[in-house]
Symmetry: C2
Subunit: 351 residues, 2 copies
């Protein structure tokens, strides 16, 4: 029998946003790897690729040409997962086991830059601010459509994350229902706010700032940290310092601070394994149901799969799918490693 | 406005085991794929590989030699995610956000066969029955340890599922707590049973048998089907016809029927894309907390990632991680395709 040491002993941690536990195995970080290695694209990309369906002026699969855009560019997803059409539906209450209902939605693609070869960490701050303004506009436009109650802004980066085109872009899926993970988060945020009259993430952020051990980057308006309950090896969350419920409530200064922390975090990510770091990222913010949401606190999740190198990722498989998410390296260790990464991109020679 | 057609219109389906919704986009199955292709091992494997740490007689990383086993063989995982050591722990109740507690557990590896080159669908029924008996023994042995309340039996098959060794094997992670997914399932099964005095899966199975559209295989004692709420393209579930709560309650005939359906299902999987079909599979059954669990109904999940071919998988990324699981092909269509697969393995020339 020994006393519990969170840095060494297997343990479970609680995620108060999703209301679930995570298994942490700190001692396991050193097991040898004989499994699959990811292939990484290493050739330098051209600034413009005539075969890319996202580059300015090119023709997409449906025959439509992209404009010669010079900042960001948004279009409807040609293969959307949802449709805008309204569907008539009478719920069959007898179906205990076969419960289904139509879902209305809109999917858009957001090209981050006309340049085929730039990713977020390599873009300049003006370019990143411009993406943020595009997200604001889309959140407003889509959110104001009567049947749209949730706007999910996200990015899949890298082929290992199912991204089929290296041209820098993200997506927006807007829909009638709150998606499962958002619904869970909503529930947690609301219970906490109703009880404490402060947002859960406002209080969590204060606790993290007091501890310091999981903080990666701080600026005047945002903090990037590895959540205490992170499941991916280098998972992070960007939180606004103010309890702002949505991206459209940002001040001009917050837009600029958000651009800075996005650039700094993704530079650290790229520097970690000297590779264009793959991840899925996305913003969680207030539903667009027309109600006030003081319980919501703007945050952005980064879920990157790499574990040991540019080619070895963490597999969320067997035990994770059937049991629960499991991680080897501790969040504190990951935060320390990320913190130590330089703030200058490994590819840039000068500055 | 049109009337809802579940075979064509985007919709959400409800999973009563996990108590969450899934997004289904039937119309999206035909979008072109330009993304990552998986590499598949195509060379024939030797019956014995002197460099394999699972083959009989070979030495493992920790210096221990495997016995010259001739059926199945179980050993403690050399890099276990949990430890058996008891940890002294005083809960710090002040920590609203940093909730953690030590977890005790045992991880074992189960080699399915001394043959390096055989997978489940290629093994004979005696060999598969032998694996089932090994699972029974492990469930009993591990389950009878005082601090073990849950025994998770699972298999990661194929390098795309993080499996680092093609030698046929599964794992068992036994631990003090009910893992997150099991806890959720437990909650659903218990509420249903308390209300209806029948298991949820007993009634669900009857509904599926009446419908017929998602059934893949039936035999005297088991049914394999694509759940109404499946998220993976060819996800299936094997259910016992009787409401049996655990693998140790199987009759001799049920052991034999279970072996048959396991072989038949995995043959269909291999035949689907003429490849050794990757998946994570695992058994969900009663906790080993010493209590009666009439609400539990033995079932086995298969979560296979392939979508269109041996090299193109479904990526559960961005929207799925931040929002909710999304699928293109409908469960009904997948069941039909699986049903149509021959019951003879594509590699076997005769028989
Ligand atoms: O135990 P293995 O086979 O080394 O590891 C594999 O299965 C484990 C249990 O599902 C996962 O935690 C690992 O990420 C995966 O690589
Ligand atoms: O929309 P894309 O980029 O074609 O597709 C990618 O992102 C989607 C949203 O996360 C996923 O559903 C797909 O599995 C993935 O391949």
């Amino acid at each position: 029998m020994k006393n519990f040491d969170i840095n060494e002993d297997p343990h479970r941690r609680f995620n108060p946003l999703l209301n679930e536990w995570v298994l942490v195995s700190p001692h396991r970080a050193k097991r040898p790897w004989q499994g699959q290695n990811e292939t990484i694209a290493t050739e330098a990309l051209p600034k413009y690729d005539s075969t890319c369906y996202l580059c300015p002026g090119n023709v997409r699969a449906n025959g439509v040409s992209n404009p010669k855009y010079d900042s960001s560019f948004v279009f409807e997803n040609d293969f959307a997962a949802m449709k805008q059409e309204e569907i008539i539906f009478e719920e069959d209450i007898k179906h205990t086991f076969f419960k289904a209902k139509p879902e209305q939605g809109i999917s858009r693609v957001v090209c981050f830059s006309p340049r085929h070869d730039l990713t977020l960490p390599e873009m300049d701050l003006d370019g990143i601010e411009n993406i943020i303004r595009t997200w604001q506009k889309e959140y407003t436009d889509l959110g104001s459509i009567k049947y749209i109650n949730h706007v999910q802004i996200f990015e899949n980066k890298g082929s290992v994350m199912g991204c089929s085109n290296p041209h820098p872009h993200g997506q927006i899926w807007a829909q009638s229902s709150l998606p499962t993970q958002v619904e869970k988060t909503h529930h947690s945020l609301k219970s906490y706010f109703d009880k404490n009259k402060r947002t859960l993430l406002e209080d969590y952020l204060q606790a993290e700032l007091r501890s310091g051990s999981r903080i990666v980057i701080e600026n005047d308006d945002f903090v990037a940290l590895v959540p205490f309950w992170a499941i991916w090896p280098y998972e992070t969350m960007i939180l606004s310092r103010r309890a702002i419920s949505k991206i459209t409530d940002f001040t001009e200064q917050e837009v600029s601070s958000y651009a800075k922390i996005l650039k700094q975090l993704t530079i650290k990510y790229d520097n970690l394994f000297s590779t264009s770091f793959p991840y899925s990222s996305g913003i969680h913010q207030a539903p667009t149901d027309g109600l006030e949401h003081p319980e919501w606190h703007f945050h952005m999740h980064f879920y990157p799969p790499l574990l040991r190198s540019a080619t070895v990722k963490k597999f969320m498989v067997g035990y994770e799918m059937l049991g629960e998410s499991q991680r080897d390296i501790t969040p504190e260790k990951s935060a320390e490693i990320l913190r130590q990464q330089p703030d200058v991109h490994y590819k840039s020679k000068a500055t």
